[in-house]
Amino acid sequence: MGQDISRRTFLKGGMAAAAGVAAGSIPGAAAAARPEEKTQLATLLDISKCIGCGACVDACRETNAHKYPNPQKPFPKMFPDRARVSDWSDKQDVTDRLTPYNWLYIQHASIDINGEETELTIPRRCMHCVNPPCVKLCPWGAAKQLKNGISRIDPEICLGGSKCNAVCPWDIPQRQTGVGLYLDILPNFAGNGVMFKCDRCYDQIEAGQLPACIEACPEDVQAIGPRDKILQKARQLAKEINGYIYGEIENGGTHTIYVSPVPFEKLDAAIEKGKGKPHLAAVSDRMADANNLAAAMVIAPLAGIAAAARKIYNYTKKSN
């Protein structure tokens, strides 16, 4: 206990050793054991540690710059006019919200804690849901969930229909027009670019490295590890600081867990929300409603057989 896993330990490849200690290390440390590929990884963000320096935002932009869109202009004229161009290519320096060129930003909240006005800062990016609507409801399979829990959008396949944004409870994926597969199909009539969002540096993780935002944080705000371990740590931390957890049950559970010293209702009321600026409100499991109808689908053939049996019985009875 109390023994941190340093970034150096992780990078040196002391993965097995790290895994054992990670479970007992204090939250907020960059305790990223390299688990099996199938292990669902979650991140823990200790809001009380964040100083809002923006190092994570800079690191994210630098590390992922090669994934950013490079749109062709002029954009194809789209029909009907309702399909609007979404162009962030001239606003790439925007860092106060999520954009196709900014996958992580810092939210600010002025909160009264014990009579003292306190400024809290919250790094916001994709929540990487356990059952992500963006992935599960993408009509083309362009959004993917990796076995380690990361949700990412494949820019080679995405058509930019923005359904992932419409079904995301947090308004995370953002569209850039003028890039992607739609240009090769029917650019005037279908598609509108590519959706972009945090992929939690899936390529860095594949290479045994930490996501850029975790690596760069001078305050060790984030920890990464197997979801069950991260949840244990989150609960322990919440207990220690008499705090609150967000992401454990929201939308059926996410792979991004926040721990805050103040209730999330208060934080949600204090932050600026809107397009590209996700809330911190309670979210029910969006996928569950229709999924619950699966039971009806199991019963349905039995009901069909029963109805047919009744008809056959009546027919046979009358024939006799």
């Binding site: 309702r82 993917k144 699966a294 009901a303």
Partner: protein
């Protein structure tokens, strides 16, 4: 003799109403199925009075699931009824077999979709793309074949 005729009329009405229910279900399944793509809002279809709900992906998904349960019940009913009551007098036509196979393809890929949408199942991205394309492909061919059958008055079954 009179009782048998009344029974036959009742049976025909029953089968006819089941056919209407089947056609209505297929219509709503196709409508909500295409609604899984972001096209109704873009092409103003959801602006038509009474069709606003088509722009809501959650609503169309829920209706699609409910329709799938109903379709499964109807198909099972028709199949069991055919095997036990009708098969002796009528046989399935070529277009009937074709429609049946396509419907089976729609149902099987649809079941895989339902399984995929649970949290515990993480299918490979390649498999999901294949699933998307095959479900859509089966539906498109099924609708075209049905249109052909409607125009040329092709029945599912014919007298032996």
């Amino acid at each position: 003799m009179k009782a048998a005729a009344v029974s036959q009329t009742h049976s025909n009405r029953h089968t006819q109403s089941m056919r209407y229910l089947y056609v209505l279900t297929v219509f709503f399944m196709a409508l909500t199925g295409f609604g899984q793509m972001p096209i109704y809002k873009r092409y103003y279809l959801s602006d038509i009075p009474g069709f606003g709900w088509l722009a809501n992906f959650w609503t169309t998904r829920y209706v699609h699931y409910a329709g799938a349960a109903l379709l499964l019940a109807i198909v099972t009913y028709m199949l069991v009824q055919h095997i036990i009551l009708i098969r002796a007098q009528r046989k399935i036509t070529l277009s009937g077999y074709l429609r049946g196979i396509l419907l089976l393809g729609i149902v099987l890929t649809g079941v895989l979709f339902v399984i995929k949408n649970f949290a515990v199942f993480v299918f490979s991205p390649e498999f999901i793309i294949a699933l998307n394309l095959s479900h859509l492909g089966f539906v498109m061919i099924f609708l075209l074949v049905n249109l052909y059958c409607l125009i040329f008055k092709k029945q599912w079954t014919k007298v032996r």
